[in-house]
Symmetry: C3
Subunit: 154 residues, 3 copies
């Protein structure tokens, strides 16, 4: 049987070990069967993927950056919250923040980098509500930040 982690590998990703915040907040909290994941930025093996959409980054590059943020979010769900992706009940809600010049209006296409990966890896239970918005700037100059709410089994 193909697992979510197998499907992630088809996308070319191994789930990395998550970064702990260098601060007093925490990467995940849980209330009942709901897990909240702190905003995860576009960061890969070579560091933070920086950029401002509409100025020095195009939609394809933005979508790739968004995918990295999604991977980091999944990593927090699995490794920090200790949720087996096969037992995840639902991706409930995402907010995708895209660093944007004022005339860039395709945040939804960038955010599809997150959405397509989650649905590709998790199937129907990866189908989430979502907002995509263009922000002035993000921590460390990241191009994309994504936060998420997940439902897990009791």
């Amino acid at each position: 049987m193909t697992t979510p982690l197998d499907k992630l590998r088809e996308y070319g990703y191994e789930l990395p070990m998550p970064k702990a915040p260098v601060a007093t907040y925490v990467p995940v909290t849980r209330v009942g069967n709901i897990v909240y994941v702190s905003g995860q930025i576009s960061m890969g093996e070579n560091g933070v993927v920086t950029g401002l959409l509409g100025e020095n980054m195009n939609v394809v590059q933005g979508g790739n950056a968004a995918e990295l943020a999604a991977i980091n979010m999944l990593s927090q769900v699995v490794h920090t919250a200790g949720v087996d992706l096969e037992k995840l009940k639902k991706v409930v809600k995402l907010t995708v923040f895209v660093a944007s010049a004022p005339d860039f209006t395709e945040q939804h296409l960038v955010a599809n980098g997150v959405s397509n990966l989650l649905v590709g890896v998790l199937g129907d239970k990866g189908k989430h509500a979502r907002s995509a918005v263009g922000v002035a700037a993000l921590p460390f100059g990241a191009a994309v930040e994504v936060e998420g709410i997940f439902e897990v089994e009791e």
Copy 2:
């Protein structure tokens, strides 16, 4: 008895059929008795209401755009989530994203277009917690995007 839909008509609105996202995410998700609605933009019968507050749109125009976003949100609650507005328990929390030039600081007045409509139509159960923030840009150049959390009957 005056229903919420009657009151909407007094505001001049018929609830439109909702737009399905052209993507892999979904317009609404539900966990228990909580419904999450994806970000809905200011879009009316004549297409997306675009604009940047403080640059080419004033507070009144922004408030009208916000009202359209609210209508689209209600449409998702009713038509996609299948919630009868008379049985809605509560509008819990909204985030109103307002496309803003850096010197525009009346996002709260624009967001009142959403808040006043919901309270006008739904009464006390329309009273919600809210954040209003000014973002750099929104999908399709929309002036306003609103996302919401709703409590429904079990």
Copy 3:
């Protein structure tokens, strides 16, 4: 025994009486044991702390502004929602919106003004998930706005 309010005083704060919104929305809503607090801006005894990080405000000033927003949020939790801080179960999730010039990328450091205060005052139950993002502008020209989700005892 040192209470959270004692610890707040060590930070130099008395919890102010909260401001009611001059609008139709409300400062807090509650669903079950979850309290949602509307976006609270950086406002102190001398009015709104305005500013745009990276343009006319530095990280230290931004962190102080963030602390004020956190105080106003706690004030809503205690005075409006009627939650005794000693009986608060958990700070679940915060979103910290930082008014930012496009080249300012230290929103996380500004947001630490919120996070450090909450963990300093509330200890482990103050440890929250968090997103920090840089927005174009905020209501009344505020430098910082924070919204929060809290778990309270049944």
